[in-house]
Symmetry: none
Subunit: 195 residues, 4 copies
DNA sequence: AATGAATGAGGATTCATTCAT
DNA sequence: GATGAATGAATCCTCATTCAT
């Protein structure tokens, strides 16, 4: 029973517990007590470290986005051509680590809370901007004028597969999403090449 | 003060009030009292007619889907070619009547509640199936083997534009969504024609 | 079991219960549950009618001051000379109805809460102004220049007897307070007459 | 970092912090954590030295009363006549050191807690007795039979000015309180001399 | 048909207090 | 001597739901 330096340990445990609990319940309607219990601590401790329930949830969202961002970076690393890097974005978005039922459920729940919470709204905006800028960076050399619209389309496709996933009772099918999204990209390129 | 035939009037008023209130608050965290007040009745009456809060919300979702279904039917009416009918689906999905901030917010909220509520889950499944079957009906003659995947992709695109809309602070941009989705469809056709 | 028009009944019961409970506990550290129980209702109902704990306590203070104001009016009624009216103010201030342990305890507690709560501060200010204006009205004809200072002194004397009462374990001794305060007033007048 | 003799240092720091904090917040609703933070130590240490929150508060009250007692002693020192010594009591009571907003607020708060806490009650009783005995010592030679009542009146006047001070938003006006109280005493003496 | 009255069951949050180090 | 870690107990407040009228 270490008695010092517990703060980072507890914070991480609570954030992970929050993500799990949100995924488990399928909504942001989780209680601090549920999260705390899952993390193996009292709800009072959760408040001690985070100050409020909203802070816990924001930290959870932050963590999900950070995981995705890290994966995106890793996936693009070493890729040479724009097409390869676009594919890498798709792969990372639907990787087993991110395209999990509980993460998807949390993701969706955060979209809802962005209607109300400034923190949630800001974090999701950051994700949007980052994804958009990543996509544009690869698309511009290939498409010129259409790059913006196509970036929006790819982003919508990714989010669309996420939200539709939320309705499946079976395990998420990342493979299918990857295939479909890449097909969209590849078709696009073929057309550009041809014309 | 007629004493008869109030039931349908009240039910409709409550359902509309529920949709408005959900849109207004941006989440399913609305109270029965808020809905009832908006409908101009007491919360007790809301329970009298619907039995429970969940039933009110389910009825609200049902109504949104019904509106969309009707629009789809209307939009496709009179259209001759498969392409025209596909375009009509897109037009209806992003029409001013359906692609409104409050409807989008409600839509999103229902996706979340589908994780928990059987009713919500079932209703959204119906919408999915219907959209999918509509799309397939037009795509099969054109694409043969790829029809299934493309149908999924178009559906994801539509849902993706909806969910991304939820983050905008400005008014929804249905036009842009229509343009992007139709561009996707048209590109697809061009490719098929070419090859 | 009357089922309509309960609101005023409940509100009054809750306010009285609040005063009793504050007196009983000797401080504003009473819970809504305690007050509600004493009033024979649930704490939820207390919130339903008052919205918040602070509102209940403010209403309680308001009532105490209203009772005192009414007594003051009654006591002065029919009194002819300024001296008689001054005596009446003193009599009312220390009457059995107002100079009760629970009212005194509540009074004191409100003075403390006036440091924090705007409502409490405002209400006590009103009481101060009213007492002062009452006193000045009688003192001006008698004392001219000194009236202001003497009014302050009499007011302080009244509040002083109240606060000191809070320390007694025996029943409040309104008589002694009346005697002492009137003696102060009478001495003053004698001096004025003599000089 | 001396390891010995910290106890008195810490105790004093905590008591002073308690007085400041009570004055700052305007009520006894201060947390041990707030007091400890102001004293620059952990709340656990506060408990280590005082055992409980109530003990801290009692010690704080004890200190306020001790300060006042010391001032009273000093003020009376060297004064020859009873009147001079009475004036000295008044001066000390409303001196800048004692008649400060935070001390007044703490004072008032202690009166409230005397309703509940035996310790607080006992301490305030001691103050009452001491003031009374001081006053009586000077008044007896001058007033004989009325001395008791007049002592009570002066004491009430002092407490009354204190409590009324609690409502002011401006700085305390010790001068005015001194003038009024001395005027009361002097009038009394004049009357005695005359009759 | 309609509602005011009423409540039980939570849920977020606070805080004095304890304990191991 | 000193503190970070941890919690149980309370407290305010909300809300879906029921019921008598």
């Amino acid at each position: 029973m270490p008695k010092i330096g517990m703060e980072p340990v507890r914070r991480l445990a609570l954030v992970n517990a929050a993500i799990s609990e949100i995924g488990h319940r399928g909504s942001l309607d989780v209680t601090v007590t549920q999260i705390a219990k899952r993390a193996g601590v009292s709800s009072a401790l959760a408040h001690h470290y985070f100050g409020s329930k909203e802070n816990i949830l924001t930290a959870a969202m932050w963590r999900i986005l950070a995981m995705l961002a890290a994966d995106l970076r890793d996936a693009q690393h070493g890729k040479k051509t724009p097409i390869e890097r676009l594919h890498a974005i798709v792969d990372a978005s639907f990787s087993d680590r991110n395209f999990r039922p509980d993460v998807i459920a949390a993701w969706l729940a955060f979209y809802v809370s962005a209607q109300t919470s400034n923190d949630a709204h800001r974090l999701l905006k950051v994700y949007h901007r980052r994804l958009r800028s990543n996509l544009l960076h690869e698309l511009r050399p290939l498409l010129a004028a259409d790059a913006e619209r196509v970036a929006e389309t790819i982003a919508a496709l990714i989010d669309g597969f996420y939200i539709r996933q939320a309705l499946r009772t079976e395990a998420p099918d990342g493979k299918a999403a990857v295939v479909a999204t890449k097909a969209f990209i590849d078709d696009l390129m073929k057309r550009e090449t041809i014309s």
